[in-house]
Amino acid sequence: MARATTTRASEAADATGSRKSDNTNDPIAALLSPEGALTTEGERIAAVADETLRDLYRWMVISRRLDTEGLNLQRQGELGLWGPYTGHEAAQVGAACAMASTDWIFPYYRDFAMAVCRGIDPGAILTIFRGLTHGAWNPYDYRFGPFIIPVGTQIPHAVGFAMGCALDGEPVATLVGFGEGATSTGDWHEAMNFAGVFHAPVVFLCENNQWAISVPMREQVGGRVADRAAGYGFPGVQVDGADVLTVYAVVKAAAERARNGGGPYLVEALTYRVGPHTTSDDPTRYRTKDDEAVWRAEAHDPLARCAQRLRERGAWDDEFARNVEAEAEERAAVMRRTLLAATPDHPGAVFDLVFANPPATLMQEKAEFVAALESVDETAGTEGTR
């Protein structure tokens, strides 16, 4: 967006005589049915090619397979922790693929499929969950920020980055992912308000999977997430987060809008966390198999939903499906191999990463640390540790 950030959203609104923003005139909302799915007319306007939809399907199948592999690896003791994202494929793949390659994405910890769509090596990402590193990729290489653990805190980063893009006059949109639990944090609100005030080119993507560990959505969110955007002076929609086409079309339009100086946009993708919060979690303590069954059904399964759409378009064939499965299988195997082949950095690297311009005292501390390690190693060579 080539606008100055100092064009405040609210000034713009003032100029048109109205401060209150709502969705009435939002062309993106107009693409959707009351249930938040693309209407036939919406689908026509969005004009997503069959090839694109097949590619979205392909990424979702790959993502699902990698998720299963992550779970396997954790069960086999190769990972300390795994946070399954099955159920989120449409939201993550749809959103990540909708962003232009020049756009940026700031993910939250569960956005593994987004990272994969962005081309980050899944085996490398897993080194984080193996405890080898805190940061497995260079954000500039993929225009993809690091996974952020403290819930909600990546949202101000995304808004700041987007403000920077606007300042630089670059037509770049920034997407930020977060769960519905994150909407309860102060940072979420502050960042939404900054985005409204500074008219920042950000797309907020709430992956509302209805659970924050054991806390259900109704005990987490007073009101409805999508409704909150209006209070910040920009539009928000709730979409069917199991329909990759809808997510893709809406996020693509929102990103375009942001790039063109239209300001922020909130997309709440209603999905479901089909698995446990992480492998440390035990959902039987707080929800029933019946609860889960509803959301495991085909009607809510992103892959089944997309296959259905492809069939309806006549863009489905069995060979395509087989190829996609085979590719997913191959990628899972590569991911496993990459992970298991990853060697840890020298522990002394911990010191090197703290600063770009480390003070001498820290390098001194490193030297002492390394010397102590080496003396232990020597001792260990002869008589074992004391």
Partner: protein
Amino acid sequence: MSATSTTPSTATEPTTSQGTMQLTLGKALNLALHDALRDDPRALIFGEDVGRLGGVFRVTDGLQQEFGARRVFDTPLAESTIAGICVGLAIKGFHPVAEMQFDAFSYPSFQQVTSNLAKYHTRTGGACNMSVVIRIPYGGAIGAIEQHSESPETYYIHTAGLKVVTPATPADAYALLTAAIRDPDPVIFLEPKARYWQRQDVSFPLDPLPLDKARIAREGTDATLIAYGPTVQTALAAAETAAGEGTSLEVVDLRSLAPLDMETLTTSVRKTHRAVVLHEAPVFMGLGAEIAARLMRDLFDTLAAPVERIGAASTPYPPSRVEKLFLPDVDRVLEAVDRSLAY
């Protein structure tokens, strides 16, 4: 993302404290909370996932079932306001016991704790008691991802108006938490999460402990190891090894980090002339600094060697595969003792 690896199995364990029981530290905390809810109608328990789930470490396991969702409830994901409602509920005469899910997730509540909870008694001329306990699982060595292994004690103990304690054993866990809940002032209750599964025989009834007293965990004569929370066990193991080598180490378990029980410390070091402080927090501005400064002041002529400090480096907490290299361990303790003895 929560990184609770194995969870202490509590299903088959008793739900009430009586007789002598073998308890994990986590279960002892659970019983203390249970007994507080039973004995004190004003006690409330809340936080993220403390209800149905019973907490990611199961410390609140079964409490919502027994005492109902009015007294034990989940909150939205908002630590600042979790601390904030503690203030309001305390004014209303409740005794809130709030949980921060992990150490680093207490940071969003820093303003509420520092500027309000710690100062409200002063700000109301002593009218409003802040009878609040903030429970924080802390420390590393659990193989977790970022932000799940921090030792935030410096931030809290430097803040006047807070009492800060941490138990090292199941019995102390019960007795200190009971005391913290009964106390009329805000207590930051740091739980050594890597020790949740540590077991001990505990006999009930068990009196609450004073909130400002250390204990001698092992007697010795050659040097004093000063530890708290997760490092007490490390200190005891080091003392055991040293004993085999003919060195007699005294171990002090601080229990209270703010205030410090200097009397116990100086009595010990007056006897041993040497002290080693160990904690998981960074050495730089860790509690070892305060202890060293005070021992120097109080025992300048008695100390035979500088107070040794063992703690983390001046780096963010490292990835879990190498965390052991950054944590205090028996070898590092014994090397420090050697340095001290050789001084």
